[in-house]
Amino acid sequence: MLETRGLRVVGDRVLVDGVDLTVAAGETVGLVGESGSGKSLTARALVGLLPRGLRAEGSVEVGGTQVVGASERLLRGVRGRRISLLMQDPFTMLNPLSTAGAHIAETLPGRTSRQEIARRLAEVGIDDPAVAGRHPFQLSGGMRQRVALAAALAGDPELLIADEPTTALDATTQHEILALLRRVQEARGMGVLLITHDLRVAFAVCDRVAVMYAGRVVEQGPGAELAAAPAHPYTSGLLGALPSVERAMERLVGIPGSVPRADEVAGVCAFATRCDLVAAACTEARPPLRPIGRDRLTACVHDAAGTARPPLAETASLTVPTAGPADGEPLLHVEGLRKRYGAHTALGGVSLHVNPGETVGLVGESGSGKTTLARSVLGLVTPDGGRIRLAGLDITDRAALDPRERARVHRLVQCVFQDPSTSLNPAMTVGAALAEASARAAPGDRIGVAELLELVGLPAAYAARRPKALSGGQRQRVAIARALAVRPALLICDEPVASLDVSVQAHVLELLRGIGRDLGTGMLFITHDLAVVRQIAARTVVLLKGAVVEEGTTSTVLDAPAHDYTRRLVSAVR
């Protein structure tokens, strides 16, 4: 139904270099890759909607129609009816001025009736026909994604391309949407090309998985086989970097280096510079995708590439991380914290504590109040009620502190935000940002820029660079170094790895673990990812709609969840 041969996407330089993919009717194929691998551009090329300035080369046939180079008029007939694209972000994908029903009606073939729209909504699990009259801003993320799916399916396409359809959603909603996608696919017998950065999602949902790297497919095969015995070092590296939700690993290992540009590695194996197994054959010519057994393809010249990096889950140890000392006064003590925004209760009496040197995971989905809690501790939000004590100091209302105390609090608690591309000042060099931060430290306690960079595993020469010249993982390291510059007793990490690729995520998590272990920094680690919390936190607090619903050691919370909501969270990732 879909067949691409030698698909290239070319702008000023080559971005996607030779993708061969087939999707048959009734089949779900996964296209997995990290950011910059070219997977989203591939998706856009398949529907003839590349961003301005880029063009597709090669061949893309959808149900026998050639898409590459086709006229807009021809493509309009193909899109929606033969091939449809579901995009990533349900918050930006729908026309803010149109109702849910209008989105479906505008691409329904034939006459539209209220019954038909209700039927289409029911197909995506919306049983309330009144939703048809709602506007996107009145619906939750999960509901919007369902409406978007119904809209994408309204023209009854034979093939659906889903580009990261769950990335912007909460864990439990992700699970529901994936199950829905699977159900709809089976009921309609259509082909689905699922594009994702999440290996677990791909393996769970797809019949076949293709792994993309630097603009090309490096490995392809049935999901389960790929997971059990990867045949390309990149795939096994990715699998090794994946934090396990089941147990805490002794060491988290990422892939060294970063993804090269597709045009720089046109004539060689794209992974050669990061590969342990690199041999002369890897850089002499570009290794083609070659069959290795039934339905399996790899672009590695070695026959036993998968065994070189055994998945590290085997070396798991349950002793890490250990709980901090439970006696004495906690470092951070939050009691009955309340905050309302208009009619919305962000925090409805939250209590928790963090002991010195302890890492506490704070788990919850969007709207649970976890960010409001973090901002209250940081003094960015003044709570309506309750108390926050930090190292014996009442910091509930920052404005009430005298300047000396405020300076002290500033040195006690620091923060690492989610997105390092926006949390670093783009106009400042790394060195200037770090020097500025360490100037706030107590006079006898200053750490030099070079030392800070070394602490987070970056070369001292990076001090002269600006954030733009760094990769996402390196930027997050700089952000961590900046937070550590005043030697804080408490580090608040607000989803610090959520915007990072798997291979980089492992490095940053390992770094944070080391900081907790070696510097004795206490951490409040906010995340939606249970696998991450398993790796980093000794204790875990689960937040739901502004209230703590469960609290305990991480292993207890994840292995024997007591609250219904926690059980749903845990089952969503298993």
Partner: protein, 315 residues
């Protein structure tokens, strides 16, 4: 509804403040009104006193203002000091020409400006975009009176397609008479709308919902009207409304150039003649027009954007 009521109340308050300010400023302006009232007649102390008594000029300012306001809300702005006719009928005499011109011009402005701006944004960087942007710049640089003279010379004098002077009597005549003035007025304004529309639509091209609409095969008409035009309408509506208000109150140069006896023309002569009642009424009318147009824009926001609608209901 509470939203509309609140907006109306605010509009009335604004007009009240405006009326006080214009009344006070004009009263404080140099020049004796009694001199104007007396006209060419010899001004003796007695005749001046008689005039002052007749027009209550010796009363304190707040008293005079209250009396004037009391009449004004009943639609009586007094009599023109110059023509002795009632101000209301003087203005009513001029208004149809100006309203026709303003309406005609705004229709032309939107009919040309919206599609041109939208196409320029969607074909960003193409020769078409460059052409449209450059034309807009040129149009913006030509002052309306120069454009008027150019049009008059080209289409009225040389080609003889349109009349040179006056506003015409029947509807058809009115349309032909107002075509050139409306074009002269619309040229610069269309350029403003083009630039606004282009700016608003530039971000639109990169929006996910635009891509998603195309990816699922939404029809062309729906794509351009339901998606592109509707999502860029709000900022452009605001500009369009303000242009309309400006046309209604002061299309002065164009009225002069084409010999149209409109409101702008009236205002200039009234100021020149120190015809205070007329000036006051016109300033107040101008204020009322701006306030009314803004109110209409707010209502249009409500109609176009459901988020504003629900926000307004919730607030």
């Amino acid at each position: 509804m509470a939203f509309v009521a609140r907006r109306l109340a605010a509009a009335l308050l604004l007009l009240g403040v405006l009326s006080v300010l214009t009344y006070a400023l004009l009263a404080l302006a140099p020049g004796d009104p009694e001199q104007v009232l007396l006209g060419p007649r010899p001004s003796t102390a007695e005749s001046r006193a008689a005039v002052r008594a007749q027009y209550h000029l010796d009363d304190p300012l707040p008293v005079r203002y209250a009396a004037w306001l009391g009449d004004a809300v009943r639609g009586d702005f007094g009599a023109s000091l110059y023509s002795r006719e009632s101000v209301t009928s003087v203005i009513a005499d001029r208004l149809p020409v100006t309203a026709g011109l303003a309406g005609y011009a705004i229709v032309l402005t939107l009919a040309v400006g919206l599609p041109a701006g939208l196409v320029a944004a969607m074909r960003r960087g193409s020769p078409l975009d460059r052409g449209i942007t450059l034309s807009a710049l040129v149009a913006l640089a030509i002052p309306p009176f120069a454009m008027s003279i150019l049009l008059l010379y080209g289409f009225a004098v040389t080609l003889g397609w349109f009349p040179v002077f006056g506003a015409g009597e029947t509807f058809a005549e009115r349309v032909t008479h107002l075509t050139l003035p409306a074009i002269a007025l619309a040229t610069g304004q269309a350029a403003v709308v083009v630039r606004q529309m282009r700016a608003a639509a530039l971000d639109l091209a990169g929006q996910d919902y635009m891509t998603f609409a195309r990816a699922r095969g939404v029809g062309r008409a729906r794509y351009w009207f339901g998606y592109a035009l509707r999502n860029t309408a709000l900022p452009v509506l605001t500009v369009g409304g303000l242009l309309l208000a400006a046309n209604l109150t002061g299309a002065l140069f164009v009225e002069r150039a084409f010999g149209l006896h409109g409101v702008g023309e009236l205002l200039v002569s009234a100021v020149g003649q120190k015809d205070l009642p007329v000036v006051q009424a016109l300033v107040l009318m101008g204020g009322a027009v701006v306030v009314a147009v803004n109110l209409l824009i707010d209502l249009a926001y409500l109609a176009v954007d459901p988020r504003v609608r629900h926000g307004a209901v919730a607030a």
